[in-house]
Structures are given as C-alpha cells and as structure tokens.
Assembly symmetry: C2
Homo-oligomer: 220 residues x 2
C-alpha cells in the first residue's frame, strides 16, 4: 500500500471511526452545542474508549487542548481532507433494483465528494425507465460512460449470482474502486479496491446484543 500524507496508511477500522467522529462532531456544531468537543463526549456516544479517540485524532494531526477539548471545525476539516471529501469522485450504480434505486435517490453522497453519474441494468424491461432522476442505461454502455465521464467507482447492487460477472465487466471498463452491496464476495485484481458491504456484518452485532439481552433478562 502507498503512504498517506502522514507517512503511513490508515487502516479501515480507523477510517470508519474517523467517519463516526465526523458525524458526531458535525451534529454537535449544527445543534449549536459549542465549538469544542472532548474525547470523552465522542467516546460516550460511540461506546468506546476516550484514549482511542485521542489516539485516532493524533494520528491525523489533530491535537486537543488539555481540559478544553478539540476545536470542532478543525476536527471536521482535517477529517474531510484526510478522507478526500473535498475532491470529487465520479461513480455509477450497477443494478436498478430496489437497493440501486434507494442509492440513486440518496442525495447525501455529494457531501462526501461522490457524484453519481449514471444507473445501469441488464434487464431489458428496466432500460430506458426513470429512477430517481436517472434513465436506466444498458450495461453495455458502461465502458463508454466510464471513459467519457471519467468514472472511478461503481456501486454494485445486482443480485449475488450476477455480482462477479458484472464486477469483472466494470473493472475491464476501467473502474478502480468497487462498493459491493451484493451479498457475496467478489474477486478482483490487486490494483482494484473492493469494499464489501455485507448487511449481515451489522446483523452480527445486533444478534449478539439481542442474545445477551435475552440472557440477562432470563437470569434477572
């Protein structure tokens, strides 16, 4: 892996935590709850250790003032810069089913520098129809769109059984990063980055908490 501005690569667990801090601090500011925020406040909301919050923020160069806290705007700005939200990336959605439609109609991506440029499907009955302001295009148009619109990223919302072949087609078309929402692993060449968004990963935590809750109630 290449080096980042701080001379090392941030692991995905750190990136995810930064994003959670970003949300929390952003909401604090929006709600007018003060221009400083402490690691203890962040840690409490996210059920984590304040030491780790400080360590993560120090790793991206944000330092707090003892007994005062962190400057909220500095936290937000630094995270935006580190994560690259200020540089626009261009993406497409592959698969115009319910999930693809939900993605297409989500207007929040722009805040994170992602512009969704087109929506594709293989299903002849879907092609040409409108979804959240996009006209569904046939998948064979993808290589041209990737070239002409400089697409970096594809969101994969096809059924599991189509995921690998559609992913391979997108990579051949020049897509560098895949965001996989199909509930299956896909294999990609080393230079391509794929993030699997298994819904079941969230379920793992919920199921565990429910089981614990049930036991504590039964034993009470």
């Amino acid at each position: 892996m290449a080096k980042n501005v701080l001379g090392h690569d941030l692991k995905h667990t750190v990136l995810e935590r930064l994003m959670h801090y970003y949300h929390f601090v952003g909401e604090q500011l929006e709600n007018g709850q003060g221009a400083t925020v402490t690691s203890t406040q962040i840690a409490e909301l996210l059920h984590m250790d304040a030491t780790l919050v400080r360590k993560d923020l120090a790793a991206i160069g944000v330092r707090g003032i003892p007994r005062v806290g962190f400057n909220a705007r500095e936290v937000l700005g630094t995270i935006r810069e580190i994560l690259g939200f200020e540089e626009v990336s261009r993406g497409v959605i592959l698969g115009a089913g319910r999930l693809g439609g939900a993605m297409a109609s989500y207007h929040g991506f722009a805040r994170y520098g992602l512009k969704i440029c087109a929506l594709f499907d293989c299903e002849p009955t879907k092609i040409g129809s409108g979804w959240a302001g996009y006209v569904v295009q046939p998948l064979e148009n993808l290589p041209q769109v990737v070239r002409e619109e400089q697409i970096d990223l594809a969101i994969l919302t096809v059924p599991a059984e189509a995921a690998q072949s559609v992913a391979t087609f997108a990579i051949d078309a020049g897509v560098k990063v895949l965001w996989n929402f199909a509930n299956t692993n896909i294999h990609v060449p080393e230079e391509v980055f794929v993030r699997h968004e298994h819904i079941s990963v969230g379920l793992a935590e919920l199921s565990y908490r429910l089981k614990r809750h049930r036991r504590s109630t039964h034993h009470a």
Copy 2:
C-alpha cells in the same frame, strides 16, 4: 455491559471481523475448497494481519492446528453460536420507502436468525399496499404487534427528520434493539442498543482509497 459465555464482552470491531471470517470460511466450504482454512488465507482476503485473525478466533475458543489450520466447520459453528444466529429474533421494518422495501425483500436475514414479521409506515397512501409479501401497516399498530409477536428489533428506514420520533415510539412500544439506517444519530435510553448504519462510513474508506489511487497515478 454484561459478560458473555467466555467471561468478557466482545467489542463491535471483533464482532464485525468474526462476521467477515464467517463469510469467507462459509464460501470456502461451499466451493469445496477444503475442510481446513488457515489464518493467512483469511487475512489475505480481508487485507488484515494473520496474527489478529488467530487472536480473534482464540478469543472465541477456536484453536487451529499448527501448519494445518482451522477446522472450517468448527469456525462456522462457533461463530454462529457466539453471535446467536441459532436463536430466532423477531424484527419489524419501520419505513416502507425504497430502502425499507429492499430490506423487506431480502431473504438472507433468516440465515442469521432474524425473522422480519411486519412492515410499517406513517404515509396513508402506503398503508395497506403490498411490499415484498408484507402488507404495510400503520405505525400506530406497532405497540400491539410488538406485544403479540414478541418483537425485539426494529429496522429504521424512515427519513432522517422522522428518525428520532419513530425510534422513541418504537422504544416505548418495547423494542430493545434498533438498527438505524436513517442518516442521522438517534438518542436512546441506556438499556436500548442502537446500531447506526451510516452509509457514509463505507464511503469514508472508498473516498480515501480513491484519493490515494489518484495521487499514486499522478506521481507515477
């Protein structure tokens, strides 16, 4: 937090990693790639350190045989038991929009012990309509359904501005665990567990990788 069967509480990062191992090992077995799996194989696919894989598996009581690996079925069975997939939990979906519809039509929850029992919305035009085999019910029916069907969990797929009031209503109705897909934080009493599934958390990693990719290309 209460103690688990192993005498300590597993952190959510560990739970998420266990779920990734579960998928990887499950696919290995399904594809007939052998009854054993090594920590190195798991670590490579997931871009992580093999030592951490061994540490996580040791934490749930699974030990490998040196130079052979882990018994794939034992890994799967232990993770299922630890995460509670063998015990059925009952859930509802609150919000019959595109995302709620996608959730309702996802048949994979049953594999993880989650049974979706009903789908609710506030919008009069949606109530009574069919979505993926569910008839959309008015939100005011929720307390009765929670009571009669012993609902533990609610999936929140309402718009951000409705999230807090719908969450509070669900908690008052007796829901113990919330899975929040609305893009906003919600506040809950201490005894309720909420998992925020911000789509932007995934975006953080993708945006970071894209930025890095772009720089390495420009400097090449």
